[in-house]
């Protein structure tokens, strides 16, 4: 049986078990990183924010900066820190809008190397599909985009998302509904009809 998040938190804090902390990070890395990638659209920046998030998390868990009350919901607590880190970054970016951004798509040199594995085509197709969907998600209203990313990437419940955004659950649900509907419209309007057909089947 898998230990719960809280059991891993206790193992790390009470017994200095670093492997417990690694398990926590690895268990939730896709969710946290997926959300950050969706918010900042730059792999290098998302990596920075991921590290920054956990620097804050570690400090707060040791009571150095803020605190963690160990009342469950470790992930939603971490997500609130990740969200703040993303918001801080977005605010800073607004101050530097005249500075040209990296032209690449956030991939490192290693990511650009050709993959000759038998699954390369499948991976390429999925990567293209992801990129195509991400472009549409980027066009959503910011509040719709964030609810969609939080629910879809991090798996937080709508109640947790509502608490995180300090709105009612109906507002969170309404934003999600519009996000999905608008996304659908964009997908239908897109020229990539073949891809929609693939996705729907």
């Amino acid at each position: 049986m898998q230990p719960t998040d809280e059991e891993l938190v206790s193992a790390y804090l009470d017994e200095s078990d670093e492997q417990a902390f690694r398990r926590l990070v690895e268990r939730h890395q896709d969710r946290i990183f997926g959300y950050l990638m969706g918010m900042v659209k730059d792999r290098a920046v998302a990596n920075d924010l991921f590290q920054e998030t956990f620097e804050r998390v570690i400090k707060a868990m040791h009571g150095e900066r803020g605190s963690y009350d160990r009342q469950g919901q470790w992930l939603s607590w971490v997500m609130s820190i990740a969200r703040n880190a993303a918001i801080d970054h977005t605010r800073k970016q607004k101050k530097w809008t005249d500075v040209p951004q990296d032209e690449d798509d956030g991939r490192s040199f290693w990511d650009t190397l050709e993959d000759d594995s038998p699954y390369a085509d499948e991976q390429l197709h999925r990567a293209e599909q992801r990129e195509w969907l991400d472009e549409h998600i980027e066009q959503l209203a910011p509040e719709q985009k964030e609810v969609l990313l939080l629910r879809q990437e991090t798996d937080l419940t709508f109640r947790e998302i509502a608490e995180l955004q300090d709105v009612s659950i109906n507002t969170a649900l309404g934003r999600m509904r519009y996000a999905l509907k608008n996304l659908r419209k964009m997908m239908e309007a897109s020229d990539e009809t073949a891809l929609v057909g693939t996705i729907d089947t």
């Binding site: 990183f33 991921f50 570690i58 868990m61 992801r130 309404g174 509904r177 999905l180 509907k181 659908r184």
Partner: protein, 187 residues
């Protein structure tokens, strides 16, 4: 709660009364159509591959967690870059302010003392005054344009990010990443 909002919860397996909503779906074709559209969009989103941070970043996070868990231990060489501590500069701020105030008062007193020498003192150095009066505005202008050219870094965060990227690249290109060389046994 509105049925269309409940539909969203239903899609994500959060609806508590799922059987009642399923009944509503079979009774209301518009609601069912909306459900079909939303479900198709969700399937497309679900089908996206997951994204993971660089392994080096996870390693750095775990290193930091280890360091934080054992504060007595000496910091490792791979410890990630941290923001510089400004605690000592904060402590010096009041002293600096007092020193600046004293300097201003001293300059004021010196200036007042200089003018009290009367017109003779002013007339004694006309050439020097003329020379500096021609150069001073140009120097001030140059300094002003220099100051404008320097970006107003409000903190060291960009430097920290660059340092992190360097750390990650170094971690990736570390020799042990490629695995140790295997000895080949010959017959």
């Amino acid at each position: 709660m509105d049925d269309r909002l409940r539909l969203i919860r239903y899609l994500y397996d959060e609806e508590v009364d799922a059987s009642a909503l399923a009944q509503r779906l079979s009774d209301d074709p518009d609601l069912y159509r909306e459900y079909e559209e939303l479900a198709a969009t969700k399937r497309a989103l679900d089908d996206r591959p997951a994204r993971q941070p660089d392994a080096a970043v996870v390693d750095q996070v775990v290193n930091e967690a280890r360091t934080a868990a054992s504060p007595a231990a000496p910091p490792s060489e791979d410890r990630p870059a941290r923001a510089p501590s400004h605690a000592w500069t904060r402590r010096l701020q009041p002293a600096g302010a007092a020193l600046a105030l004293l300097l201003v008062i001293g300059l004021g007193w010196w200036q007042g003392d200089g003018t009290s020498d009367g017109p003779a003192a002013d007339a004694a150095t006309p050439g020097v005054i003329d020379g500096t009066s021609q150069q001073a505005p140009a120097t001030a202008q140059t300094r002003s344009s220099d100051a404008d050219a320097i970006p107003a870094w409000d903190d060291g965060e960009e430097l920290i990010r660059i340092q992190r990227r360097i750390d990650r690249l170094q971690a990736r290109s570390a020799p042990d990443r490629w695995g140790s060389l295997q000895r080949v046994s010959r017959p």
